[in-house]
Symmetry: C2
Subunit: 355 residues, 2 copies
DNA sequence: TTGTAAGCGTTATCAT
DNA sequence: ATGATAACGCTTACAA
């Protein structure tokens, strides 16, 4: 007893397969025909095979969302927004995870040619020539939530993190903080590079010097913790302690650019890093925000869950997800439209980690 | 210029489609044949169509993981474990999210009959007759990460939350806490019911009375916060304040069972609820763990990220994910094996939210 | 309105 | 070892 096929239904109903197909797709048919087909369908528990259907019609009605790290709460915000838009349009959303390496992303994009889905929404963390090429050549529509060169010829929706940085610095300065440190994620990533540049510009706008800058090996909580002692040391806020924690299985050492002077605020490239830093600050006996103010980026669910709740730059993850999804749907409708490059403006969610 | 098909490759290589297929699938062929086909494939950038292939061979080499809430960090732990197992076996993992309603789960299970994937790994939060029925009748192998009646005739991997509760209570009692409160999630869910029962048993084992019991409307941070004031009120730890926060757009009121007496410890049905409670405890001027010890469940990444780091019952999410994935793969190999019901034992991860 | 039949892009069976 | 061809389960001209 295998799955019933449309032929089985046709036989049971005493009609042709074409009629069954028509009834199932709501095409014109007589009362009686609909009746008979429906009965047979119910009786046999027939469900059309999506593979066969999509082979024929050339569409799967599935969309793929690819994220680098399911553990990063910024993606859940985005995912929720995307899900809402695509399901309203009658598509199934499937999520796959790529990992931090660009080769995995390239493999994924190439793999889309196999016809798994009608479109791909990808938020790449590292971008290289190969990835751009694979996106440009991809058989199915792709939209990138993030920054990818215009020559990729693809729709993009990205954040304005320099502007976000400025919001953060403005706020800190307004609260009287001048010695601002920065904990970045890997600078060889797209967001890492953008935030680094943004931080420098924002400080320059206020005629300030960075109090300390460090680079975590990853955009994760663990990497944030691992990088914090070095940041503290660079900022003159901790001494020998900074090397005590380096155990055997910790991530590789962080890159430090000591710029002298203690800091009274630290901006982190995302919320996970910020929460990691806050833990280490507490371990060093420093109070947030009294001794050091902390600002995260992404304004993910983690920002309100953390303690103290984290002031965070809202880079519009939900809106980016929503608009990216809309762009994808639009491109599926019409693949000839000229690629759009949308920039979503940031805002600042002020919570208790800043004064 | 549409996608090249196997026919195009065959034409370009001057061989038959059958030969192309053979070469691509590593079946015996002469040096020269392999050579020619390979060249044509590279030249055209041919990628086999997964839909057509799976229509023919009856397998998609995709597996679906369905979770109720992508925002719940326990699922990321599980997801990572599942991903590792299935990708090692040559399957793609796709994640879909169901939402908290059982009807969505049923729809998803039924939908699997369309042939989206070769197997389904589902972690249902609510279970009813319909769901059991849909799982039993599902065309593709299903394994449940969670608790579902044996009559469903399906492989299950579940946690032992009563045992976990006992671990938590043992620990609290050993630390001198006797007035233990419990914040549950919705009792009409499978984990909610199990944890409620487990809590009662664990207290009885120590001949203790519950200090306060409340039920959040959801297993989320927001619901945890919303429920906390009532819990505090029930425990005599807060007065009128408990109703101050109830704004217009807050979740529905929580169910309270006041049992008298202030409490010095609270066990929460998952980490998100625990973090929510900790926020409200702080807002009420109570210190964790000095005034109130807090224990979460799931031992998710959030437990170490929270502040203070959360003592949490490790219900073996990673192991559950791993074993569930193994079960699924085994059943795909042999659908006639008798269903297994695996129970994973808990452990306690002690952190600073308890003394 | 309904039925017949030709594909969609593969793989697998059968000859050769 | 290779090639022709029949499925896989569906949709859609086209014919009746």
């Amino acid at each position: 007893m295998s799955r019933p096929t449309i032929a089985g239904v046709a036989r049971a109903a005493g009609v042709s397969v074409a009629s069954v197909s028509r009834v199932l797709n709501g095409l014109p048919a007589t009362e009686e025909m609909v009746e008979r087909v429906q009965r047979a369908v119910d009786e046999l528990g027939y469900v059309p095979d999506a593979r066969a259907r999509s082979l024929k019609v050339g569409r799967t009605f599935q969309l793929t969302l690819a994220v680098a790290d399911v553990g990063n709460p910024v993606y859940v915000t985005m995912m929720r927004a995307v899900e809402e838009v695509v399901s309203a349009a009658g598509y199934r959303l499937v999520v796959t995870t790529t990992g931090p390496d660009v080769v995995d992303e390239v493999a994924l994009v190439r793999g889309m040619a196999r016809g798994y889905a009608d479109g791909l929404l990808i938020s790449p963390i590292r971008v290289d020539e190969d990835l751009v090429k694979s996106i440009r050549e991809c058989e199915v529509p792709v939209v990138v939530a993030g920054n990818v060169p215009a020559k990729a010829g693809v729709d993009t929706v990205r954040a304005n993190s320099p502007k976000g940085m400025l919001l953060a610095v403005d706020h800190l300065v307004a609260k009287g903080r001048r010695r601002i440190a920065f904990l970045n994620g890997p600078a060889d990533t797209v967001p890492g590079a953008a935030r680094s540049k943004g931080f420098a510009e924002a400080l320059k706008a206020h005629e300030l010097q960075p109090a300390a800058v460090a680079e975590a090996t990853d955009f994760t909580f663990a990497a944030g913790r691992a990088a914090a002692p070095d940041l503290l040391a660079a900022g003159g806020l901790a001494g020998s302690r900074s090397h005590r924690r380096r155990g055997g299985d910790e991530p590789a050492p962080t890159t430090i650019r000591p710029t002298g002077g203690a800091f009274d605020a630290v901006i982190c490239a995302n919320d996970l890093l910020a929460v990691g830093v806050m833990h280490e600050l507490a371990a060093a006996g420093l109070e947030v925000p009294a001794d050091v103010a902390v600002v995260g980026m992404d304004d993910s669910e983690l920002a309100e869950q953390s303690f103290p709740p984290l002031t965070s730059v809202n880079l519009g993850s939900a809106e980016r997800g929503r608009r990216a999804a809309e762009l994808l749907l639009a491109r599926i409708e019409d693949n000839d439209r000229t690629p759009r490059r949308i920039v979503v403006q940031p805002s600042l969610s002020i919570r208790r980690s800043t004064p």
